[in-house]
Point group: C2
Chain length 207, copies 2
């Protein structure tokens, strides 16, 4: 594959020029836990995370069973759990709601653990980005949380008069549904405190 | 920060145009283990990895103690181990040797676990790339393995007549020293078999 015309320039040695690391402050606006029977989360003042994730949350663990997101593994195969926490941004949820024609999409409906403010296009933060929290915890971004019908149905349950919101959500929420992340360092996540966001050097790779 | 001139173009909605996912075949040329007293590895016909890495290897474990690579954590703090395996490419090691003016840099000297052929600029493979091996194991790329003086000293020990190879290695091996990775799915890594390389969609992010 040749490098497409939209890729970065090359330096004198033919190496692609990388985007340098970026670092800035954001804010942890909310913390939530999925400790009930279902997929939804509920707001709590803080979370204490371990290297296995959020203790008592349905997505905690060093491993998780392979599901429809990784169809190249036999279903149920234990794989390393890089999806311990779900992270969303209020501006992105508002845009999903606008596209769906509903008044709101709440973080708890779609199982979010963290609400983060102050990151533009949060869902597009690169894999490997680190989030350092005031309470000592640190998370590593695994990547975009691709919207699924399961979350779409959870949204639809709150607007029973609108049909097929589950499928509409999958389309509307692409690139806006937030991130999944894993715990790099144990510690506390305190709603209302700051986050030191560290984006690694970026370059595009082609074979 | 504004998007620099070397970044990809934008689509009609102002969204950066991503590079699509890429998939191709590579080859696992060698498998090695660090099961001795030191940093070096030794060649073995195969490795059976678990979600903790290579059993018996000095870098195995769900967690590892924070070291000088992550100086923002107190030294020794348990952090999630995303550096379970070290991966190198023969063409990149040859280029390091050329730059250092030595006949060769062998994978075992710098603690490599896997030697992979058939990936251009292996060290630049994006974080999140998955490597699916013929023996069922799958690895996730954490990122570039930044060269350190420790590995440089190991190289220098093999060329005692050349001075300060440790520092020279750190400079010469930047962008060429390979990757670190973690195990996503347990299984076998068999020297001489194929690898299905899956590079995720890529886009550059700016705040």
């Amino acid at each position: 594959m040749t490098v497409p015309s939209n890729s970065p320039g090359a330096d004198l040695f033919g190496e692609p020029v990388p985007l340098p690391p970026q670092r800035f402050e954001a804010r942890l606006a909310g913390t939530l836990i999925a400790d009930g029977a279902g997929f939804e989360t509920r707001a709590v003042p803080s979370l204490s995370v371990t290297l296995e994730g959020v203790p008592g949350d349905r997505h905690a663990g060093h491993a998780r069973p392979a599901d429809s997101r990784v169809p190249w593994y036999p279903r149920g195969t234990p794989i390393r759990n890089a999806r311990q926490l779900s992270i969303v941004a209020p501006d992105e949820l508002a845009e999903i709601a606008r596209r769906l024609g509903v008044p709101e999409v709440r973080p708890e409906w779609i199982g979010a653990n963290l609400v983060i403010e102050g990151v533009s296009r949060l869902t597009r933060l690169p894999p490997g980005t680190r989030l350092h929290f005031a309470g000592g915890a640190a998370l590593a971004v695994e990547g975009e949380n691709a919207p699924c019908r399961h979350a779409g149905r959870a949204v639809g349950d709150h607007f029973p008069s609108q049909e097929e919101l589950d499928l509409a959500f999958v389309r509307a929420a692409k690139g806006l549904r937030g991130l999944v992340a894993w715990v790099e360092r144990a510690g506390d996540l305190l709603a209302g405190t700051g986050i030191d966001v560290r984006v690694p050097e970026q370059r595009l790779w082609t074979c």
